[in-house]
């Protein structure tokens, strides 16, 4: 092991020496993390900077979403599927020099599932009965029931391993086991990480990486064009992408995300409590026009609340084909031959603001007049999300596997269907993968055929990358900008 390591670093040295390739990178991002503890907050920006770079878990996601070995070298699963014995890698050190041992795993998992834990994804740890350190390099985890996706759960950024020695200051000075150590945080500007010389795995090609936070789309465009940033993760203005694509200096990566963008309908509000009216709204919408007009072609049409890249997805876009004449007939049948007036409340992202103007024009065609109000997020949360004070609104639901929200009648679009509620309940305790698939597809069909919301498109993750920079993830199986495999060519 040691021999190969020296060999690879020697090779790396030759490579850098001979070609004098660049070894630092600056990545642009729209949002800045509120603090640097991935195990105690939901903010995606924390994981984007730290996941796999600074912190590692027992298992880890690959760029294609597969689950690979992380700090655990291998594992044994008992016959009944309730006991996992993880064999940990040896010789791993935290950035502060302390050893990584089984006790750290016990500490991290106990901390995450503790009563007072603020972990944003506590459900990941729900099935854990106990975590024990068998010896310094072996951990035994007992589950209270077999769980098909336990290794997947342990790969999340919320399940990374932290050390008790450095936990107190983790929000400002994160100490992990990853290939990069945290170096500097200029609040409001950037975070810098540097290569970890004592890394247990393959040393990264980059010596230093800076994450620069640029929230304004115009500034993002300028920074990219001027070369101030080498890549922009989640580029915020799709209208500029055609320009980047035409420019040989850049590559545009377009991947999938978990963001179902929907025209949410207030199901309790008249006239939307009539399924015919909801169906008419869905059929009045030309999804492709919205994707072209609001997202400049980036996005996949959806017909239900489920990510198209998920193997359990069913294409239900045919349930609501674009057909204004049929939509108008449905409205007449429901008792609104001349249409009606309603509100359309739009949060700040451009998919909502631009998409809203297009939808308003499309609804006007069938006689529905919408009064548009552009709201800031705080106002939107207060009025629409918590106050139920809306007719229609547009929002992207970016949480993975969130079809369960349709079983919550108090959730802002107020869909109340006992059949779906009992189905989701059964799904929660079902572990047979085939049955789960069947149930998930059934749930997708129910909400699609009930026209709960207008299903628009799956948000695309678009990144602009310098053409000479290799190894940036195209898809987002989890929110991460994994730099361990990133390098400069030439």
């Amino acid at each position: 092991m040691k021999k190969t390591l020296t060999l690879t670093s020697a090779l790396a040295l030759i490579a850098t020496g001979a070609l004098a390739a660049q070894t630092d990178v600056t990545i642009g991002m729209q949002l800045e993390p509120p603090h640097l503890d991935p195990t105690s907050a939901a903010a995606g920006a924390i994981d984007q900077v730290l996941y796999s770079n600074v912190f590692e878990g027992l298992t880890r996601f690959g760029p294609d979403g597969t689950v690979n070995a992380g700090l655990a070298e291998s594992w044994d699963i008992s016959e009944d599927g309730t006991t996992y014995v993880f064999k940990l890698r040896t010789g791993v050190k935290f950035h502060d020099g302390t050893d990584f041992e089984a006790t750290d795993v016990v500490f991290s998992l106990d901390r995450a599932r503790a009563e007072d834990s603020t972990n944003a994804q506590k459900a990941l740890f729900d099935g854990i009965e106990s975590v024990e350190a068998v010896d310094a390099n072996t951990v035994k985890i007992t589950l209270n029931a077999p769980q098909g996706n336990f290794l997947f759960n342990m790969a999340w950024g919320d399940a990374v391993i932290v050390a008790p020695e450095s936990i107190d200051d983790i929000k400002n000075n994160p100490v992990g086991t990853g290939a990069f150590t945290f170096a500097d945080w200029k609040q409001g500007d950037s975070i810098t990480i540097a290569r970890n010389a004592n890394y247990w795995g393959t040393a990264p090609a980059l010596e230093e990486a800076t994450f620069k936070f640029i929230s304004d789309p115009t500034a993002a465009f300028g920074a990219m064009m001027a070369g101030d940033v080498d890549a922009f993760y989640g580029y915020p203005a799709p209208e500029n992408l055609a320009q980047f694509e035409a420019d040989p200096r850049f590559n545009v990566l377009s991947g999938s995300t978990e963001g179902e963008t929907i025209l949410a309908i207030n199901n309790k509000l008249e006239p939307f409590n009539d399924v015919r009216v909801r169906k008419a709204v869905s059929m009045a919408i030309d999804r492709q026009a919205i994707i072209d007009g609001a997202m400049f072609g980036y996005g996949t049409p959806i017909g239900t609340h489920f990510a198209p890249h998920n193997p359990d997805y069913v294409d239900l876009t045919g349930n609501a084909p674009f057909d204004p004449a049929a939509a108008k007939a449905l409205l007449a049948e429901a008792g609104y031959p001349d249409g009606f007036k309603t509100t359309l409340k739009l949060p700040p992202p451009s998919y909502a603001r631009r998409g809203g103007e297009i939808i308003a024009a499309q609804l006007r065609e069938i006689g529905i007049e919408t009064e548009i109000s552009n709201l800031e997020w705080a106002q939107w949360l207060e009025q629409a999300f918590r106050g139920y004070d809306f007719g229609l609104t547009i929002v992207s639901h970016t949480e993975p596997m969130d079809i369960g929200i349709y079983a919550r009648p108090e959730y802002y679009f107020q869909y109340d269907n006992a059949d779906l509620q009992s189905l989701i309940k059964k799904l929660g305790v079902e572990s047979d993968p085939n049955k789960r698939t069947e149930m998930l597809q059934q749930a997708q069909t129910i909400i699609s055929e009930d026209y709960v919301n207008g299903y628009l498109f799956q948000l695309a993750l678009t990144s602009v990358v310098d053409a000479k920079l290799n190894g940036i993830w195209e898809n987002a199986p989890t929110q991460a900008v994994d730099l361990t495999g990133v390098s400069w060519s030439e």
Binding site: P217, N240, A289, E357, I358, A360, A361, I372
Partner: protein, 270 residues
């Protein structure tokens, strides 16, 4: 004199565009045509199309209507409240009431106009009505101060004294003798405030607090064009020029009117 002609001509062009747009525009501004988005200026679309395929010339015509309507009502609000307040304060000059009115005005005046507008629209929600109210409110102290200042010097005149001797009350003197004599000043100031109103409406719409879509507004057209500026510069240029030319026209007209009405100011060379 040349100023006033150029100014009035520019203003007339936009007023005319707004009037025509009431009955006719080259294209329907609420009709989106995504497939013909971002077209360069051409014979069909003189000013090109925007990111939704709408005709920019049509949008500027209807936008002129929005701008003018907002600015006119805002000036009327400013004059409607400001002038009576100023007359009243001047009539009761030196009294507690005068102090209260004028310090109240100072209070409103102390805030930058855009800040007041943002405060109002943040509390009551963005809409055309709230934008008008917001812009109207910051016009009030402008007219109140101007009226009081001019009225104060008039109150010392002999003809006012004779009116008082003949038994007229303060209110009647204000309306019959003071107001007609400050009218020139008010008209000049009104033109200036009108141009500022157009700017303020554009600024509010630019930050998303003015008239709401789909009603076109020059400010929002600029905001929409921001990220597209390198791809479709015409989207920013035309509404930008519309704002500049209207404001320029109104300012020239205002200056010209002032010179016309008040030759003394011209000599001072302000």
């Amino acid at each position: 004199m040349r100023n006033i002609i150029v100014g009035l001509c520019l203003t007339m062009v936009f007023a005319l565009a707004a009037l025509v747009s009431l009955v006719w525009t080259p294209f329907d501004v609420t009709q989106l045509d995504i497939s013909s988005k971002l077209q360069k200026p051409s014979a069909t679309h003189w000013f090109g199309t925007d990111h939704f395929g709408r005709d920019i010339l049509s949008m500027i015509m209807v936008g002129a209507q929005t701008s003018i309507a907002v600015a006119v009502v805002a000036v009327v609000i400013g004059m409607g409240f400001g002038v009576p307040l100023g007359l009243w304060a001047a009539a009761k000059r030196g009294s507690l009431l005068d102090e209260v009115i004028m310090r109240g005005n100072d209070l409103v005046f102390a805030f930058p106009s855009l800040l007041i507008a943002i405060m109002i629209t943040a509390v009551f929600g963005p809409s055309a009505i709230n934008a008008i109210i917001a812009i109207g409110i910051f016009n009030i102290p402008v007219f109140a101060r101007l009226t009081r200042g001019a009225a104060l010097s008039l109150w010392t005149r002999d003809y006012i004294l004779s009116a008082r001797v003949s038994g007229k009350g303060a209110a009647r003197i204000s309306v019959e003798h003071i107001l007609p004599n400050v009218m020139n000043l008010l008209i000049v100031q009104g033109t200036i405030q009108f141009s500022l109103g157009i700017l303020a409406e554009a600024a509010l719409s630019y930050v998303g607090l003015g008239v709401q879509p789909p009603t076109p507004s020059w400010g929002r057209m600029l905001a929409d064009s921001q990220t597209l500026i390198s791809l479709a510069p015409h989207m920013a240029l035309f509404p930008g020029f519309a704002i500049i030319l209207t404001v320029l026209g109104l300012n020239l007209a205002g200056d010209g009117l002032r010179d016309l009405f008040d030759p003394r100011l011209r000599r001072v060379g302000r």
